[in-house]
């Protein structure tokens, strides 16, 4: 009855053409190993749901996995725009369905609660609702105007956590989930990649620190350094030096191809990826909080 799976097995749960929600926020806490596994498998025609994303969505687009992106924001934070996401959008290679942070959350909650919509005042007066009027409708009510956000129901959601057990119990430190818990609520299948697998008794010893109960998680994948190059506070910051090099390499297909192969795709797991990007010195550089690159 163990929920442990290999990364490839878990990535195989994402069927071509389906909707996958990716956790994390900008340069922080994203399930990057899972994104690499999807790209490595050649996943295709995915609709990606990402509330506020960065390298995760950029890698999935670079890997040719994405047909449509339901997003609030995608960027490399202070480092610049997300180059593959940007280029694919500008060339019309992907459809970008822009919502916003709170409206995506409302859509996920509508799905979780099996409701036709969740209301919010977010987005009123902006051009965003007009991008998908069938799913986000401005409604005048005698007690006030609201935006009705229709359901966003991912087939699979993937989040990265600090600790998990074979039953699917997950712990995020210090319970900082950014907005991942909204994905966990809404998706039909939930995959947690975890820095380490711990015994069940770890959870029973401090049950108030459990973040996701086992019955909400369908698969657990051990993936140490699985958020790299994004951060996993409080254990490590993001790798700003890597991001700078990545952005430089993205300027030219000739420099990008070897970078993508050697520095992103080929390394077989998180430790190998870090080794391909500086090894122990990199870990040392990012280990202090804040990823002071």
């Amino acid at each position: 009855m163990s929920k442990l799976e290999t990364m490839d097995e878990a990535a195989g749960r994402v069927v071509d053409g389906s909707t996958v929600a990716i956790g994390g926020l900008l340069m922080n806490g994203a399930p990057m190993e899972f994104c690499r596994a999807l790209a490595r498998r050649g996943a295709k025609d995915l609709t990606v749901v990402a509330i506020v994303a960065g390298p995760s969505v950029d890698w999935l687009v670079a890997g040719g996995c994405v047909r449509r992106a339901i997003i609030g924001l995608v960027s490399m934070e202070g480092f610049g725009l997300a180059p593959h996401f940007r280029r694919a959008a500008e060339r019309g290679e992907i459809d970008v369905e822009e919502w916003s942070e709170h409206t995506i959350i409302c859509g996920l909650q509508a799905a979780a609660a099996r409701l036709p919509f969740m209301p919010t005042k977010a987005g009123l007066g902006t051009d965003m609702p007009g991008l998908h009027p069938e799913r986000t409708e401005v409604v005048e009510h005698p007690r006030g105007t609201y935006l009705a956000c229709g359901p966003i129901r991912p087939d699979v959601a993937v989040v990265h956590v600090h600790e998990a057990d074979v039953n699917g119990n997950c712990r995020v430190l210090p319970k900082l989930v950014w907005m991942d818990s909204e994905l966990v609520k809404a998706a039909d299948t939930v995959v947690a990649t975890t820095e380490r697998v711990v015994p069940e008794r770890t959870f029973r010893a401090a049950p108030e620190r459990t973040t996701y109960p086992g019955f909400t998680v369908d698969a657990v994948v051990e993936a140490p350094l699985g958020a790299y190059p994004t951060s996993l506070f409080p254990w490590h910051g993001y790798d700003g030096a890597f991001v700078t090099e990545y952005l430089a390499a993205c300027r030219d297909p000739e420099t990008f191809a070897p970078f993508w192969r050697d520095r992103v795709m080929d390394p077989e797991d998180g430790p190998a990826l870090v080794d391909a990007n500086g090894g122990a010195a990199t870990l040392l550089r990012i280990r202090s909080a804040g990823g002071t690159a």
Partner: protein, 261 residues
Amino acid sequence: MSGDYGIDELMVAALAREMPNDTRAFNGAASFMPVCAFMLARETHAPDLVWVASSIAVDPSPPRIPESTLSDALWDGASMLHSSAFDFWWYAQNGRLNSFCFRGAQIDAHGNVNNTVIGPYATPKVRLPGGGGMADLSCQVPRVYLWSTTHTPRVFVETLDFRSGMGWGDGPGHRERLGLEGGPRLVVTNLCVMDFPPETRRMRLRSVHPGVTVDDVRAATGFEVQVDGDVPTTPEPTREEVEIIRRIDPTDMRKRELAGG
């Protein structure tokens, strides 16, 4: 003092002075100047100001501003860490938090903001990051402060390519009709400070920075800026203000926001 400060310090000080003592603010990504301003205001005229770092950490005392305003290095000494942004969002909606700062690739005369696309949405010339939380909070938070380090006609435009964030909308009464409280209070740029008088809800020049003329602002703005009578000069930051800013941010993260900086 004169001369012994940068435009970044002038902007931070101008922003900070507009934050009253009942400010309860929070910050998102890439918001070095607002974070400097919150910390400066808290150390000077607004000791009760509440600041929630990264929308996660309540009232922290970081030794210095780190390289990301979402970094946990900003959370030192917090009295609370929220587990999720959604929990915190209630406080942005119920008025317990009341202040937020943002900027954008384009800003129009009513303080509406575009951070989504340059060009048509379906076939953009530049695909920008997207509205993100600004699209929400511009509707939900009553006190909005805009800042821009690139006061040019390409940023301050007559017509947005896309309205990602709601300012005063189409003008007076628009937010009220939608039931949105408050609205943008102020714009602090590298040239001037502007506000939005109730009669027009269009940008009005409130002060020009030292060395900047009204005509400079007009030339740098893609729409007609309202000018009422004599326009004063933005006060320079005091020596104390500059010292505090440099102590708070010794590695000059705030200067990353300056054009070419």
